[in-house]
């Protein structure tokens, strides 16, 4: 765990897709070691903001940003930042479970293979990493005999857990989750939420959700966004019970989705 009080800090962050501005002057601090949820109606920029933290949104050509993001005290837009190293430290779980079309085992060690020279990858190291990661997400018991099966054939819930498990061998500081439960049923949602509780403390977790109930249940702090701006950032209880901004109040009353 890092010593910094804030795992992520943004200062005056604006972002454009082509000529469309998706984020307006976002300045916010996300505390280390807790779960922070980003909520807001669709199109409010919460996913965009999340994708800035590991710069994965730059895959789409026409993205332009201004302002600053510091993760663990380092500005991630510095020219000497290697995206590969950044993404090693900032892992991401996506809306739809996206295990790679290779075996369960290879999925878990994919990150290791990518980040470590081949000579350092002894079989025993890999085996150990797989067991540790799968145990941590509670899949080891179910999957230890099926490590060679293709990961895309698992149940959705298992797939999503696997997507989380494959981040762990890289020892990330921050885990970003983009509506991780939206493709799952009620049971799967609950399982993922429980997993988040267990991982919180070891990792800084930022989760995007459109499900207010989930935000309320599963996060320590909430950031409410609207039209690309941060409207309110507060402890979850405070935000839901005592919203400072009338727009927040309207939203949590369910006036709009």
């Amino acid at each position: 765990m890092s010593a910094e009080p804030h795992a992520i800090e943004t200062r005056g962050l604006s972002l454009w897709y082509g000529s469309f501005q998706a984020l307006f002057d976002v300045s916010t601090d996300i505390r280390s070691g807790i779960i922070t949820s980003l909520i807001g109606p669709s199109g409010c920029g919460k996913t965009t903001l999340l994708r800035c933290f590991n710069r994965v949104n730059e895959r789409y050509g026409n993205v332009r940003t201004a302002g600053e993001i510091r993760i663990l005290g380092e500005s991630i837009y510095d020219p000497d930042v290697s995206l590969i190293e950044l993404r090693k430290a900032v892992g991401m779980v996506f809306q739809r479970p996206n295990p790679l079309p290779i075996s369960v085992y290879e999925n878990v060690v994919f990150g290791l293979r990518v980040h470590t020279p081949r000579t350092d990858l002894k079989r025993s190291v890999l085996d150990e990493a797989v067991e540790k990661a799968l145990t941590e997400v509670g899949l080891w018991k179910d999957l230890k005999d099926r490590l060679k099966t293709k990961a895309t054939g698992l149940l959705l819930e298992q797939q999503q857990k696997l997507c989380l498990a494959r981040l762990l061998p890289l020892k990330p500081e921050v885990i970003l989750m983009d509506e991780p439960a939206s493709a799952l049923d009620v049971g799967g949602t609950r399982a993922i939420e429980e997993l988040m509780f267990e991982l919180a403390g070891k990792y800084t977790i930022v989760i995007v959700t459109h499900n207010m109930a989930q935000a309320r249940r599963a996060s320590d702090e909430c950031i409410f966004m609207l039209m690309g701006k941060v409207v309110e950032h507060a402890r979850t209880e405070d935000l839901f019970l005592n919203p400072q901004n009338p727009k927040t109040a309207e939203y949590i009353e369910g006036r709009y989705a």
Binding site: V56, G61, I84, R87, K88, L100, V114, H115
Partner: protein, 309 residues
């Protein structure tokens, strides 16, 4: 039905009988056109086989000789022999060489287009590939006959520039666009979520390609290669003009060969209809039809393999 009086309700009109009937007729026409492809394929097979069939039962013709003899003397004055083995080998050698060149280039270009290239450049390259695939085969043949054969003679010192090498290069150029465009489709069909997952784990593009995309798109890429083979096997005018047209099992790349397709094209015009020679050419056509049928079915099967997953 409209028992509840309502302010917005107006009388419901019925569509006129004529309109309904016209629609029915049109739909029948659509269905007919839809199945026409089956009819055409069946008709092609039927007519080609129909012209070929009598020779199968004629005296002095043996299927074994047809398939496995290298002696092609369709008009001999005293001993007519119809052996297409050398022609088959000719087709295979030219196709194999073409694939040897076209597959790495085609797949490499497909990977570049789908994974490495900026959208603008991709559009441009796709236009180039489309134009390349639009060049008529007779123009390719002409290029083989004039340009390529001179180049080959100058470069290798071979006595004759129209040979396996020439045909192979021309065919490679002709089948590369097929391989690129279908290969690119196959790579594009790999869900973006896989790429996203890889990128988010810090993989470089190249790692992404060989660790994730190639395994995931394996079947589609195989289909691309197969369709490239189909194109090469079936090509006629280009090989007719570029391979030198010798009934001969090639010993080197610089030997001239004759392919099944070129043989038909060269001799069909001069084989009086109804003669055995004419029918044997149709039989060769049937053989070609079956070969490409198998190649295409395999390609389709391979592609559908991935879709099912």
């Amino acid at each position: 039905m409209s028992s509840v009086p309502s302010p917005i309700r107006i009388a419901r009109a019925e569509r006129s009988r004529a309109a309904v009937l016209a629609e029915k007729a049109l739909e029948a026409l659509i269905r007919l056109s839809g199945v026409s492809a089956i009819l055409f394929v069946a008709a092609i097979f039927f007519f080609v086989l129909k012209e070929a069939a009598p020779v199968l039962f004629s005296e002095g013709f043996s299927l074994g000789q047809f398939l496995f003899s290298t002696e092609w003397y369709p008009t001999s004055a005293n001993n007519v022999r119809y052996g297409t083995f050398a022609l088959t080998v000719g087709t295979l050698s030219v196709t194999a060489l073409a694939m040897l060149i076209a597959v790495p280039f085609g797949l490499g270009a497909a990977i570049y287009l789908s994974e490495f290239c900026k959208p603008r450049l991709r559009e441009t390259l796709k236009v180039v590939i489309e134009l390349l695939s639009a060049i008529p085969s007779v123009v390719w043949g002409f290029v083989g006959l004039t340009v390529m054969s001179k180049l080959i003679v100058n470069a290798t010192g071979a006595p004759v520039g129209v040979n396996v090498l020439n045909g192979g290069i021309i065919l490679a150029l002709m089948s590369v666009p097929v391989i690129v465009s279908i290969g690119e489709d196959a790579l594009k069909a790999v869900p973006d979520s896989f790429r996203e997952a890889g990128v988010a784990l810090g993989a470089t593009r190249w790692q992404l390609v060989y660790r994730v995309l190639l395994p995931a798109a394996r079947n589609g890429l195989l289909a691309a290669v197969l369709l490239g083979v189909g194109r090469a096997v079936g090509e006629t005018m280009a090989v007719l003009m570029a391979t030198g047209h010798a009934v001969h099992i090639p010993g080197s790349l610089l030997d001239s060969v004759r392919t099944l397709t070129a043989n038909i094209a060269a001799e069909l015009g001069e084989a009086p209809s109804g003669s055995d020679h004419y029918r044997v050419l149709f039989l060769t056509g049937t053989l070609l039809f079956l070969i490409t049928l198998v190649v295409n079915l395999t390609a389709d099967f391979v592609v559908r393999g991935i879709r099912r997953k």
